[in-house]
Symmetry: C2
Subunit: 414 residues, 2 copies
């Protein structure tokens, strides 16, 4: 187990701080409505990497003089490693640069955080064993819960990149076609079963043209974010046959603002769970490629009292992001820098580990009780849903920050 790397930024050395020197997550920030700049989080501060590259303290071909990490990602793994090691040198306890760098530290509380990268295309998977089983049981019964392909293919579908937003962006309750099982015809109205999906998003940092191996796919992933794939279950139920979810998933997908690099997560690698059926060789995992990341979901109604409604772990996934990315390329599909892959909903084996309200309320039949006494089957207007994640070392944690969104009432439509 690796130990805390101590920094001269004192707040980064606390055992409870999510942004120790071991983390160095990459984001985009602004201050007082100024331009959006690349930065890294350290303790209670954001280190302004735009300013560091401007001052030629670091040099990455100007890619950090932008408001998004795509250009830097495109540089490739050698530069990914170089930036991390240069930042560690600059920020570690006793570093000579400490005095001269203080001017580039922006208090986190003054920073507005933005999308850390431009999402090129967005793919969402369905790779959580417990989630697939729960949802399948609700829709097709326990005997037919898992589709026959599920243990062979990391099932995925293309999502909508234009709808990916950063944590904190309010989410308008969507309209759509709704049809209950007893309705003769569909009607058009606001979704009544609006839901979350607790996921981890993997960010493709290097392009590929033809099929790539799982090992290569792992190398091509730059980092990870929390991801909430907002889902309108009633729109989904009526639209999704035969070609999959479409408008039910297109309202918004929220990601956390800090890209947690694969490098920072390296000490937390774990293997995928035991295979229930052998995988085809092209999907074999050559080394542990999942991560031990503790996850939780909080629901905060308008009264401001949060209830933690779910706790689970990324290691519950049946397929790793590397396996998903390798599968994504099998047909020759070109992948590009900035592609975002959602893991699929991460549910654990117990009721309290479920990553969606659909599962937590068992299709709306078993309302959740909130700590303050209210109940929920699905999201109500003005509820805020917050995902959190962390990987815990012996004496430090790697925090993911928050992935939050407040649901606003539906607007009238034209």
């Amino acid at each position: 187990m690796t130990r805390l790397l101590r920094s001269w930024v004192e707040s980064a050395n606390s055992k409870t701080c999510g942004f120790p020197l071991n983390n160095l997550p990459y984001g985009a920030f602004s201050v007082d409505g100024g331009p959006v700049r690349c930065g890294t989080a350290i303790g209670d501060f954001v280190l302004d990497l735009h300013a560091l590259e401007s001052a030629r303290i670091i040099n990455f071909g100007g890619t950090l003089l932008t408001g998004a990490w795509n250009g830097f990602m495109a540089l490739g793994r050698d530069d990914w490693n170089r930036l991390r090691s240069e930042l560690i040198s600059l920020l570690k306890e006793g570093a000579e640069a400490a005095d001269s760098l203080e001017q580039y530290l922006v208090p986190m509380k003054n920073a507005d955080l933005h999308m850390p990268f431009t999402v090129t295309e967005f793919t969402d998977f369905y790779a959580g064993r417990h989630h697939a089983f729960n949802v399948g049981t609700m829709f097709r019964g326990r005997e037919n819960a898992l589709p026959p392909n599920w243990l062979h293919i990391p099932i995925g579908y293309n999502g909508r990149a234009s709808s990916v937003v950063v944590s904190g962006t309010p989410i308008q309750r969507p309209h759509g076609q709704l049809k209950g099982p007893d309705d003769e015809a569909p009607r058009f109205g606001p979704s009544q079963r609006f839901d979350i999906e607790l996921e981890i998003g993997a960010i493709v940092g290097q392009p590929s043209e033809g099929p790539i191996s799982v090992a290569q796919a792992f190398e091509n992933i730059f980092g990870y974010v929390l991801l909430n794939d907002w889902s309108a279950r009633d729109i989904q139920a009526w639209e999704y046959q035969p070609l999959g979810p479409f408008q039910s998933k297109a309202t918004a997908t929220t990601i956390s603002p800090w890209i947690i690099t694969a490098a920072a997560l390296e000490p937390f690698r774990v293997p995928t769970p035991e295979r229930e059926k052998p995988l085809l060789p092209y999907l074999a995992e050559p080394a542990p490629m999942l991560y031990d990341i503790m996850l939780e979901v909080g629901l905060t109604p308008e009264d401001g009292q949060e209830t933690i409604i779910s706790q689970t772990n990324y290691r519950e996934m049946y397929y790793s992001a590397a396996q998903q990315l390798a599968h994504h390329t099998t047909s020759g599909c070109p992948m590009r820098v900035g592609d975002l892959l959602g893991s699929g909903t991460i549910s654990g084996p117990e009721k309290g580990n479920r990553g969606s309200l659909l599962e937590l309320s068992w299709g709306g039949k078993e309302p959740l009780t909130l700590d303050t006494g209210g109940t929920r089957c699905f999201i109500e207007d003005n509820d805020t849903l917050t995902l959190r994640g962390k990987a815990a070392g012996e004496d430090y944690i790697i925090g993911f920050g928050e992935c939050a969104g407040k649901i606003l009432s539906a607007k009238n439509v034209p």
Copy 2:
């Protein structure tokens, strides 16, 4: 019915030329490996619009000094109309500019054509009544052929923008997971049932944030291209439940190189077919928004002898692109300049009108006979598939050019 607009470019005045002055389609071309430039087709020539904007003969804020039409599209409808009317003035018979413009005409045979725009995101629909019925009959029987939502929703799914290529790009036969109905487990290998889908692609030329009306959607569409949504039927059959097609559609989607503008197609507007069930009001078509576009598919084996395997018409679609785009925005999905919407496979009522080999060979059970005596159920290596389209006026035609691709044998995979 509008008449031919005569041009001083003589070859544009022929009744059989697809690029008369009435058309003025927009593309991107290069000569001898030089830079990619914006151009328009007129008769047997490409008019170099990069050069025209460089020479300040036209002025569109430098958007034509690029190799793609996205910047120009973003300018909006007033500029779309202005470019078209300025080009008509410059190119019409008797125009004073004729002598000075000849230097900007590049013989079409010397021009290499490229992707005319950068595809932002790609959505594919399933809006052909005959296609949906045919495919549904094969998979679920005649009684259950149309899914219950089909007459209410323009069913669509998100495709993969990175795999869209321009006509002429060779297509490698893909690998994927294959499992026959009697196989115990899937295997990994080259697709044996590789297919075409004859479609028209609509290009979104203006962005939108929230839901928009069908009328607004129609205004936001810049133009149309032929589109072949290559499909691996065997990969599709095994992967598509429950979340829709994924790798089966990700090998490539080919588009024709010329954007045929909505303005050029204006005289050919026709209504969608009679509704079999009433549509929800948000999908009502306020005016005819389909087009009368004759379509055909040719299959050319290695021997070079083409057989026309299908002839149909875009007016067979049950939903127009404007209806599809309006539906696409219902949940709040932001649309962006350069989004591409595939119509869905365009099949007509008769066997000879079917827009896919899946339908033409009825799932591989009724092989097609080629003019030279060979047979086909699906595409064989070294076959070239070519889509063609035209709208016919009284004394002129609006040609779409060709949308062609040759299938190369599968490559070994890692």
